[in-house]
Symmetry: C2
Subunit: 345 residues, 2 copies
DNA sequence: CTGTTAGCGCTTTCAA
DNA sequence: TTGAAAGCGCTAACAG
């Protein structure tokens, strides 16, 4: 191991007691003189206080467990960036566990973290089961969720339904009457159900002539690309990808088949990924600020730790990003201008 | 805190000694009978062994510190995915610290981790200074680098020079004589110096008529896009982006100006990001397997921990991905076929 | 096989 | 102000 010089060595060298050194390290109550001596001794010995001994005593790990579905995803990255932006200045560190998109593993991870004595746990969940709820309520370690929601646990997430609705309202306003929603499995409540339903609601509400077809695909470019033909066959005027990645895969498919976007067919997405701005046509989308979600989640968890009242579960703001991939069918306005690198920054 | 029931409680309830419980928890040497009793007691009490007490004794944290330049990046995500793929089955967990692309912060992070008593440290560095080297050699905790290299510390990284050379050789073979390298600051030795130099070497070696211009830009789409005009003015037949993101920004710029790729000008990148396959034309690139780098790095560090001989520093394999964005100027072959979603999977 | 006995390195009463 | 002493919860000799 790497721990050689202890508080005892420092004490001896400084000619004081261990407690005095400890006091120096923590609060006060030490004369300026001894303060000096201890300081010197610490420098000379290169003393580092032992993390585990300290934690054992103080019962505070200053560690936050973070459970993520996967690592190699832009959204997860942003979320993490937001989390560490709050945790770091607060003196907390993140302990990372990966659930590999499995609910079972998520539970295991939470268990393991609880047992390890982290101060709090943040879970970017793929689905909150009853077992999650039980685990969350039974333990003494606060657990906060994101990605999915459940009325019985604290969470901070994007309002997927509102996002869907926002997009539905926009396309309706642009004169579209027949859309195809390229979505994901309903196992994913947030994206597979809420986002889709929000869209359908806003798009069709009180418009019997409006129609939404549905094609199921995966989260990656390739599976979206592969369902391109199914999507096209629907004959809709606009395709709504449940995520930008899905839309990008479809955009590629259309490109290869010679379909022009938005002249022949419009395409929109959700997420606001940066690459949506560099492809052509640039993708119109609802942008989510995952970094902000991470920050809010971390802040909320910290509040929980400090015994603050747990206010409402919150759902985060959304930003509509109009770019070049939607055609205005009303004829009252001209095409969205394919200007320079729209909405990129 | 959350620790109520200790090994002592379990012992009492089971009518055995603490050591017996401890033995049950760890290796063996316990009769089947007491084994049963202890097991029951643990279940009844819901006992969880205290992480910190255990670590304090065993002097093993089973924790690996990970220092990353930033979180919201695809390459970092992949790296992390690779790391956790090795760490997890080995029973280690990752403690995450972010350096925000600052060398100073990197040092601080390493210090803090050393002091915290992690078993090892993995640093995805932005530049290995002498101070890094000192810190690495002075401490008793093994530190392994990636992202950058330095002869005096262990590292695992992509061979940037070889990547550059590979690309130089390819473009040369395709008949290009005048390239412009859209690169980054030389502060970044790996990308800014090695990658570029490798390219120049292979492209110009023994060809006095070959010429490489240089334009400096940043790592993001936008700054690449913004230097589009400078790049274009060079009048080269091919632009080499130091990363795929840079190439994507430039591709967008060209698109807006009506330049056709690869008919009017060719574009290549480095990295093999998936989005390079869905844009049109799909980007020809050198692909790096960052996940593999993460795995190798983690494995190497674990070997170090277990006192295995530290073999050579290693640089990882590269994959050339030919897609649609380069024009063959030799006239002996036709255009690379813009087939279906080339090299996507 | 099992219990007793020492601590790991630190914090924190409690007297002095 | 300071030092002595008592552990935090666990593991690991050491006898038995």
């Amino acid at each position: 191991m790497n721990q050689k010089v202890t508080i005892k060595d420092v004490a001896e060298l400084a000619g004081v007691s261990k407690s005095t050194v400890s006091r120096y390290l923590n609060q006060g109550y030490i004369s300026v003189e001894k303060q000096e001596r201890v300081k010197k001794a610490i420098e000379q010995t290169g003393f580092k206080s032992n993390f585990f001994a300290k934690r054992l005593k103080t019962k505070q790990s200053k560690l936050i467990g973070i459970v993520l579905p996967r690592m190699d995803s832009v959204t997860v990255g942003k979320l993490l960036a937001g989390i560490s932006r709050i945790l770091e200045p607060a003196g907390y560190q993140g302990l990372l566990l990966v659930s590999k998109l499995s609910g079972r593993k998520e539970i295991e991870n939470i268990r393991s973290l609880q047992q390890q004595g982290v101060d709090g746990i943040l879970v970017d969940s793929v689905g909150i089961s009853e077992e999650h709820v039980k685990l969350t309520k039974s333990g003494t370690v606060p657990v906060l969720y994101t990605g999915q929601k459940h009325q019985d646990v604290p969470y901070v997430k994007i309002d997927d339904k509102a996002a869907g609705r926002m997009m539905g309202a926009y396309l309706r306003q642009m004169g579209h009457k027949h859309a195809v929603f390229a979505g994901v499995t309903e196992t994913d409540i947030a994206v597979g159900v809420d986002r889709k339903q929000g869209f359908i609601d806003a798009f069709t509400e009180g418009r019997p002539e409006a129609k939404v077809d549905f094609v199921e695909t995966g989260f990656d470019f390739l599976s979206a690309y592969n369902c391109g033909e199914d999507v096209r066959r629907c004959g809709a005027t606009v395709v709504v990808g449940a995520t930008d990645n899905i839309s990008l895969g479809i955009l590629r498919y259309f490109h290869e088949r010679g379909l022009r976007v938005p002249e022949d067919i419009s395409v929109v997405g959700f997420g606001g990924y940066e690459v949506g701005a560099v492809v052509y046509p640039a993708l119109t989308t609802i942008s989510f600020d995952y970094e902000l979600v991470g920050m809010k989640a971390a802040q909320y968890l910290l509040d929980l730790l400090h015994g603050k009242p747990l206010e409402q579960n919150m759902e985060m703001p959304l930003f509509f990003v109009e770019r070049e991939s939607v055609r205005n069918l009303t004829g009252t306005l001209c095409q969205p201008q394919p200007s320079s690198l729209t909405g990129m920054a």
